[in-house]
């Protein structure tokens, strides 16, 4: 493909293009072409010298720096608006105060606890919710009977807003870790379930038939053909699920907890500590983004490996 496409892109005359066209029909030439190591991603329109905007955007450090531009600008605007007296300290404390609040909480050993317990709840709830989502998604995606039996109920449960579960979970499981983790599980379950069941239904029928023709069936067919084929969709489902898990974490911690970032939010609101409130929001943004980025790295690897 690239062989045939390049002459057009670089604007060569017609002759080399047709020569390529002729050669490409012969087995030996295509064989020789494939013998070279597979070309790495050529990044679309990147020219050879690599100093176009597109070329810079391919570099990891450049993307990181550019991605930090807007947050830096926001902090600048924040600082400026507070020192210009646009807001009172209670409405919007300056960045330095939020930083001090963080230092203070770290010194008391509380901040680490809040972050740790919240992260733990998210990870446990996410792991179980995503696991169940994968299992039920596989069942509904592969079995028409399961689809007919389960899909309407699961769809209806999915329509229930997250906060509606809270009173019931507290009633059943008391105010402890169980009720919170369960709520997060519910949040993580649906994105994985939906993406996996849909993706499994659209696995290339030809590949599945080829697998069957070579004696694969049941679990072996699932693990050899169907699951690998949906790995990219599974990962996009997982990333959605992780975002949902953080969302549901705050819902759980806002209502009943004595620790965690959601608790820090409500506690700060009740005590008028806007600096800590902002700190909690910034931490949720940063930790959420970090966990998503980690999953993104795993996704990139998996897509390369399985697609």
């Amino acid at each position: 493909m690239t062989q045939l496409g390049n002459p057009d892109l670089t604007g060569n005359s017609v002759t080399p293009t047709s020569a390529h066209g002729l050669k490409a029909t012969g087995v030996d030439v295509t064989t020789a072409g494939a013998a070279q190591p597979p070309a790495p991603d050529q990044g679309g329109s990147t020219p050879a010298n690599g100093w176009s905007p597109a070329g810079v955007l391919e570099k990891g450090w450049a993307r990181l720096l550019l991605g930090l531009l807007l947050p830096a600008a926001l902090i600048g605007a924040w600082q400026w608006s507070t020192s210009a007296g646009l807001f009172s300290v209670v409405q919007l404390p300056p960045p330095a105060m939020v930083f001090e609040a963080a230092a203070d909480l770290i010194q008391r050993g509380e901040l680490g606890q809040h972050v740790a317990i919240s992260t733990q709840r998210v990870l446990i709830g996410f792991a179980f919710g995503a696991g169940l989502g994968l299992a039920f998604g596989a069942l509904v995606g592969l079995s028409r009977v399961a689809d007919v039996l389960l899909a309407p109920t699961i769809g209806a449960l999915r329509a229930v807003p997250s906060l509606a579960w809270v009173p019931l979970l507290i009633l059943w499981m008391k105010i402890g870790e169980d009720s919170k983790v369960t709520l997060i599980m519910i949040g993580a379950f649906f994105p994985v379930f939906t993406t996996v069941s849909l993706a499994l239904r659209h696995v290339d029928k030809n590949l599945v038939e080829a697998g069957r023709a070579f004696g694969l069936k049941g679990l072996k067919l699932l693990t050899t053909v169907q699951l690998p084929a949906v790995v990219p969709s599974v990962f996009s489902g997982l990333r959605l699920a992780l975002a949902q898990a953080w969302l549901f974490l705050v819902a759980a911690e806002l209502i009943a907890s004595s620790m965690g970032l959601g608790f820090l939010l409500t506690d700060s609101q009740n005590n008028g500590r806007t600096d800590r409130l902002l700190l909690a929001i910034v931490l949720l943004a940063v930790i959420g983004k970090i966990t998503d980025a980690l999953l993104g790295v795993a996704e990139k690897w998996a897509v390369k490996r399985w697609a």
Binding site: A34, A35, N206, F214, G215
Partner: protein, 280 residues
């Protein structure tokens, strides 16, 4: 076209692969009163009917016919991928019931798993009973047989269409098949690659003389490769009834055959006439 055929000839006339008959034990296939009807009630339509035919063990049988005449259905019934509405397919002495481990299928498209290497894709064809060690050795031998030993670790998308199709053929051979089923395996390839693949198939058949059922719509391909050709089609006066075998032709001479021979040319135009194309 003739120049190309001449240049491709030497590789076909000198099969390089050693005779490895331990790989396959050719089995005969018989069709008895086979019928396949799709749908039920008013919308039912019959694709195949009254297929009664015997394929000898080790024979290369080409199945010719116009598009939609049920060639692939016949092949799928042999593999057990599809169940006939009436009648039966027997391989050896036992009928085909469900997916048959004695058959191996190569499809029109390579249908390789994109996340596996060619080597791992070929290994999927290995019979269940094979141990890891013998399986590995067999895959290595097959990679060599189809000329892909240097590409064992490549992924399907990193090789050409012809190479992927060769890997697909090797996957089928890994099964140790009593019957090799080829559903227009070279149909999607360009003309040059197709001729090389046909020669490769003859080499493989010489090395491992299994029974081959080859579905094709290419008369020349059938004449080059097959011992016998059956033509599927609708009988005059029974057009609404589904296709059946309307003609059987024994192709004379040993393979490889001269692509320019006068007798083959005569058979070619006669076969084309059976397929409803006249004056060629």
């Amino acid at each position: 076209m003739t120049a190309v055929a001449a240049s491709a000839r030497p590789s076909a006339s000198a099969p390089s692969a050693a005779r490895t008959s331990d790989l396959s034990s050719a089995l005969p296939v018989s069709f008895r009163g086979l019928r396949r009807t799709f749908g039920t009630g008013g919308s039912a339509h019959t694709v195949l009917r009254d297929i009664d035919f015997d394929v000898r063990e080790g024979e290369v049988l080409a199945i010719l016919g116009p598009s939609g005449c049920g060639k692939s259905t016949l092949l799928r019934a042999t593999a057990g991928l599809d169940a006939p509405s009436a009648g039966s397919v027997n391989i050896g002495t036992t009928p085909v019931q469900g997916i048959d481990p004695r058959c191996a299928f190569a499809f029109q498209e390579p249908r390789l798993l994109p996340w596996h290497t060619l080597q791992a894709n070929i290994a999927i064809g290995l019979p269940k009973s094979s141990s890891a060690k013998t399986g590995k050795a067999k895959v290595a031998r097959l990679l060599e047989l189809v000329g892909l030993d240097k590409f064992a670790k490549h992924r399907p998308r990193e090789v050409s269409g012809g190479m992927a199709q060769r890997a697909s053929l090797a996957r089928a051979l890994a099964r140790n098949p009593g019957v090799l089923l080829l559903d227009e395996p070279f149909g999607a390839l360009d003309a040059l690659t197709r001729i090389k693949m046909q020669d490769l198939l003859l080499e493989i058949h010489a090395a491992e003389p299994t029974t081959v059922l080859l579905v094709t719509h290419d008369v020349d391909e059938a004449l080059q490769l097959a011992d016998r050709i059956v033509v599927l089609g609708k009988e005059p006066g029974r057009e609404g009834d589904g296709a059946t075998i309307v003609r059987t032709v024994v192709v004379p001479d040993e393979r490889p055959r001269d692509r320019g021979s006068a007798e083959l040319a005569r058979m070619r135009s006669s076969l084309l006439e059976s397929l409803g194309v006249e004056g060629h």
